[in-house]
Each structure stands twice: as structure tokens, then as C-alpha cells.
Symmetry: C2
């Protein structure tokens, strides 16, 4: 057979899927597995979205415009305006999930071999889009001790060279749940301006902020209009991950025009998903209130529970629905395998994502795991008990 | 602002969209424009598909598996088996349209700088996916005089070098409508085997074959299982272009495993579209009979009409719903602009796709246009009259 590509060989395996065979084996043995490894919320999609599908009244399921359905783009611009983010219809390109927005952003802004600086730990699929685009990810270390706050700007400065084209943040963060402050964003703004870099911000968890905190958007930073690229998605906001609708947003008109060429090559984003997403714009505020209340309770159960286990440390995140915890183990991947393969508590166990896959520096995150609190409260309580009991008897404990 | 990417600069504009500003201007002036330029069928989507959306009964619109919903992949394998193509569930990766299948195929099989040979004229978006992947398209000339039959194998042989990784065909063809014979496919099989190349086949128009002709699939060719990559899509088959559901299919297990890594990075294909596509598998045979009958009538009106115009030549295609015609003009792009800007017949005009964009060799196709017969018969009859009258008075006529 002909050889396959180097890109394909270099594509990293997903850290949240790495242990799937272990989970399947556990299930075959009759164990119940609580999935703390994935970010698929169990929260119901708003009724207005489901109604839009039930009332779909077109006779031909046509391509939409490559840039997305105009009325949806207009509605989305209004959504941003309503939450104080100045975005115009023409700044918006609708994409097939935030995933495609990231891919278009990388392909539009960076040449193969150029570099993008990302605070780590970071969303592992950034690696995939970087490999696809031939772009090099340069990590800058954030630390669990201060809850993964923005690393010192000097640490970024040290990494900037003639190949550096941009900085990418996820805010609120997956996998950390960290919410950048306005001051932190302004520091990045100054850095981006100084070196004329792109500032990519993945803000798909915007609505999920807790304890009265608010997400600040990069679109509100002044003086770097041509540098800012916003990545967004309806997946988490309305619990409609399967719709595969995201957006690439920038005030840089040349950038949007160029990204549109990539968009035209793939014809259009999904029509059903766009109709569903346009309907989602009518989601009542009460929906979000309920969802946020639920996530705060879940977060508290999970994070407080984790911190009650001897040797475990988990900073309490202010956003998204993930947390990173350090465990009293040498190798969290080994522990995550072991708890699936060799442990159960009353026939139940948990699946977590070993944090190594969220770090580019392979020396980091060795004793950390990522957990998503997208399960109900009862399941989370049980997960804490299982973890606590497991750590009592795990042979690799330190 | 930071510079944009070279890839973006090299992304070709779509030949079917190139003249959109001229069409918009014509409409502003009150002209009615018949769109022969696009491949968006007006045929209704099967009722079973619309019903599936109306009856959507999930409460959470979840991600599907990255490889696609299992029951849909199983149903699709059955669809192939039923039409005599041996495809197993595990050979199938569901993609976001045929577009993503092409992108995954290029990225999985070719390194940047490697070459793929494509008979021209070819579907212009192949260029887009090639640019995205850094792959070089090497055209081999097919000719309007013999209806765009397979070029002589010697012509392919001449182009094969150490960088050649594969051959790509579209069968039945867009933009030519040409349907490759079994013998032609076997010649390509022998060539592919001799040089151990990938054989990519875009067969999304499979159902659209006329005059008793049948499409032969590359999957039926023997002895090159590891070389064959089939690109498929529900877009045209069930007139559901907006669903954005396609498939990458191969018996080469390593290839599918590697493509799955790209698929995992983008999480999943659209859930709604997959549910709709699974429902589409129940489309009754009567639907296709009616659609094919309609297309045959449209083809005959358009192609016979074109050939009745002095100086126009249009081979009669046996498949898809496009035709390529040569016109008695020096420059078909200029003619296509002129007919929108400076001509009307009783307030009406036509929009066609200048064929230049379907050729990689810029010297070819200068006097050709592509037309899609996805409009109703009345519109096609009127289009022929408009074109005939226009050619009588066009200043650039030769």
C-alpha cells in the first residue's frame, strides 16, 4: 500500500478517549462507570431549539451561504450586542462547530512552521488543528497552585521570536475552568499590540461563570481590532454539541474575507444546525439561571469533595464545567487505567482524563487529572466516594 | 496587522461564485436571472427525511461518535451491499459533507508537496482542499470532443513521478456529466496497481445515470483494496445538500484509523444531518425513478437546445446533472459577464459558470461554460432562448 501522511502519524490521540478500551473492558465486566472524562453535558437543550426542528417547514434542505444564514448572523450579532460585545453581522462567519472556526483561524493566519503560544494545560484538540495546519504550538506554563492564572507576561516574552504569529487562550478555560480577569486580558492586549500578533480567544464557555464573576471578551479590548479573532460555538451554551455550529469572528475585514475562501471550498455549515442555533437565540434567561445554579452545585460537590480527600488538591474554578486536580499519585494515567481495570467500589468506578494530554510539555501534569462536572449531583457524590476509596488502596500512591 | 497566510492567498475563488456581483447588479436593475451556474437541486427532499426531523425525540442534542452514529454506518453499509458494492460498517467514516471526506483523504494520504493527478475539467473545490493540505494538483486533459472520456493512460504515465501519490476521479463527473465505463476504470486500476498509488473516487452522483447506463464503483475493482478511497455524500442523492453529511470509505484499515484521528479532533459530524441521512436510507425506489425521469427530460431540453444553437457544442452526458458546452466566443468569462450586465431578453437573462475555473491549465476551457440542469423545464427552455438570442448579438462572438 502507498504510505500514509506524516501529519496523520503526528496527530495526537485524544486524552479524553485514550482510556476508552479500559472503560469498555470495565463495563464488560459488569462495572458501572461514571464518565468524568468527557464534556458532553446532560443538560437538556432549550425547548425552543427542539421546537424549531419539529416545525422545520422547508421542502428542500438546501446549502446555506458559505458564511452562514444571513438572519442567523444578524441574530448572533444582536446576541453579542446585548451582552455588551460590539460585533457586526459582517464580522461573523458561521462555522461547523468551534472546531472548524479554529481550523480556519489557523489556516488563515499562520503559515506552516509558524508558531502560536498557548498557556498550558490547554484543550487538547488545539494540537490536532495545529498539526492539520502545520503550525507549531509553543506552550507557556500555567500552574495549578494559583488555579492556572495567566502566566507572567515575561514568560510569554521569552518565547516570542520571528516565527511567532499569535497567542491563543480559552476563557473561561477548558480544562482549567480558570476565568481571566480584565487586567490579565489587558496585559495580553499590550503584548499582542507590542509584537503585532494575532490574539485568538476561544470563548465558548462564556455563559458559564460562577460566584458573580463575569467573562470579559477579547472583543472588548481596545486598540487591537485587526489582531483579535474570536472563536465561538453554541455547543455548550445551549447544550447542543451535536448541532456542530460555531463562529469565527473578527473585525479584521481581510481576515474574514480570506477565511471565507476556506469556507466556500467546503460549501456551507449545516443548515439544520443553523436553524436550531437561530432558534436558540430566543432561549429565555430563566434557562441559563437554572443551568448555572445546577453547575455551581455540581462544582461545589465535586471540588469540595476532591479537596476533602487527603493528598488531593483542586483549585475552585470560576467558569466552564471542568476542573483539574492533582492527586497523590506518581502517574495519573496509570491511576486512571488502574481505577477502571483493577478497582471498583460496590461495582462502580470512575473514568477521568489523565492531564498529560492537556500539556505540550510532557514533564508536566503527571499527577493531574481533568474532570468535567456534566453528571448529576448524585453521580458526582458517588464519584468522590469511589475516588477516595480508590486512593486508599492504589499501589502507585505517593 | 499581522500578515495573513500564503495558503489563504492561494485559495482559488469559486468559479460558480465569481460572477455573483454581476448577477446581483442584474437583479438590482430588475432583470430576472436563471441560475444555471449552481448545483443546488430544486428537487424536494424525500418525505421520510423531513419526517425524521419533525419526529426528532431526543432531549439533548449530543455529539455523535467521531466516526458517525453506529446505526447510520450500519445502514449505509447495507445501502452499498444492496447496490452490489461490498462495504462493511468498519470501512465507513461519516464526515461533514463530501467536502470533509476529501479534506481528510488528502490530509491522511498525502504530505505537503506531494501530487495528485486529476482529469480536467474537474470540480473546482478539489483545488481548495489541495491548497488546504499543501498538495499539488496535476491535471491531465480530457477533451470536450469525445465528451470528456478518460484521457489515454499514457498521458497519466507521463505525469507520474516520485511525488505522485494518487489519482482522483469524479464519477459520474462534475462538471462534465461523463460516466466512466468499466473498462476505463479497469485501466485506472491497472495503473494504480502498477505504481502503488491511491485511487480516490468521488461518486456522489452515483444515482444520477441516464439512458440505461449504470455507475461502476471503484470499490468493485479487484486487487487494490488498500489503494481505494471512496468519497460519498447524501447531498445530491436525496437533495439534502444542507445536511452536510458525507462519508470517507476504504478497506484500508490503517488509512481509516488515521483519518479517524482527524475526525476526533473535530469531535463529530452533525447529529441532525446524520439522523436525517439515516432516515433517507428508507427513501422509496419510486422517488429516484421520478427524479431520474425529470433529470433526463431536463438534460434533453438543455443539451438538445444548446446543440440547436449555431456554433454551440455540448456532448450529451450520461450522468450527474451538469453539462459543459463550447460556445462560439473567444472568452466565456467575458461572455458570462456580458450576458448578465449588458443583455436581457424580455427582461430575463442567464447565469453560467465560465469553465476556466474547472481547469488547472489556464489555457484550456476558454470558450466553455458549465451549466447545471437543476432548474425546472420551463426555466431551461427559456434559458436556451436567451442564450441563442444573446449569441446573435454578443460583440465577442467568433
Amino acid at each position: 500500500m502507498p504510505t500514509l501522511s506524516l501529519k496523520g502519524k503526528n496527530m495526537p490521540a485524544s486524552p479524553i478517549r485514550k482510556l476508552v478500551p479500559y472503560a469498555e473492558e470495565a463495563k464488560r465486566k459488569g462495572k458501572k462507570v461514571y464518565h468524568l472524562n468527557i464534556g458532553q453535558p446532560d443538560i437538556e437543550t432549550p425547548q425552543v431549539v427542539l421546537d424549531a426542528m419539529h416545525n422545520f417547514d422547508q421542502r428542500v434542505i438546501e446549502y446555506s451561504n458559505s458564511e452562514g444564514i444571513l438572519s442567523y448572523r444578524q441574530g448572533l450579532a444582536k446576541y453579542y450586542t446585548n451582552i455588551g460585545i460590539d460585533v457586526k453581522t459582517e464580522d461573523i462567519l458561521i462555522t461547523t462547530g468551534g472546531s472548524e472556526a479554529l481550523l480556519f483561524a489557523f489556516q488563515t493566519c499562520l503559515n506552516p512552521g509558524e508558531e502560536i503560544i498557548i498557556p498550558e494545560p490547554f484543550y487538547a484538540n488545539y494540537n490536532g488543528f495545529a498539526v492539520s495546519s502545520g503550525v507549531k504550538v509553543v506552550p507557556v506554563e500555567a500552574n495549578i497552585k494559583n488555579g492556572f492564572a495567566l502566566p507572567p507576561i515575561e514568560d510569554f516574552e521569552k518565547l516570542i521570536n520571528e516565527k511567532t504569529k499569535g497567542i491563543l487562550i480559552c476563557n473561561p478555560g477548558n480544562p482549567t475552568g480558570y476565568l481571566y480577569s480584565k487586567e490579565e486580558l489587558e496585559k495580553l492586549r499590550d503584548l499582542v499590540k507590542k509584537h503585532d500578533l494575532y490574539f485568538f480567544a476561544d470563548e465558548v464557555y462564556r455563559e458559564f461563570c460562577y460566584d458573580g464573576a463575569e467573562a470579559h471578551s477579547v472583543m472588548s479590548l481596545e486598540g487591537i481590532d485587526d489582531n483579535i479573532v474570536l472563536i465561538d460555538s453554541v455547543s455548550k451554551r445551549y447544550s447542543m454539541c451535536g448541532a456542530r455550529i460555531g463562529a469565527l469572528i473578527s473585525r479584521n475585514k481581510e481576515l474574514i474575507a480570506m477565511a471565507l475562501k476556506f469556507a466556500q471550498a467546503r460549501l456551507s455549515p449545516p443548515t439544520f444546525g443553523q436553524i436550531a442555533s437561530e432558534a436558540a437565540l430566543k432561549t429565555p434567561a430563566s434557562y441559563f439561571k437554572e443551568v448555572i445554579d445546577e453547575y455551581v452545585q455540581r462544582r461545589d460537590i465535586l471540588v469540595d469533595g476532591l479537596n476533602s480527600i487527603p493528598g488531593v488538591f483542586c483549585p475552585k474554578p470560576k467558569g466552564a464545567f471542568y476542573c483539574m486536580a492533582s492527586l497523590p499519585v506518581k502517574d495519573s494515567e496509570d491511576f486512571c487505567k488502574w481505577i477502571l481495570s483493577d478497582f471498583d467500589y460496590n461495582g462502580e468506578t470512575v473514568m477521568m482524563a489523565p492531564a498529560g494530554g492537556f500539556y505540550a510539555n510532557k514533564a508536566l501534569g503527571k499527577n493531574e487529572v481533568r474532570m468535567a462536572y456534566v453528571l448529576n449531583k448524585e453521580a458526582l457524590k458517588k464519584s468522590i466516594i469511589i475516588l477516595k476509596e480508590a486512593l486508599k488502596v492504589y499501589p502507585g500512591r505517593i
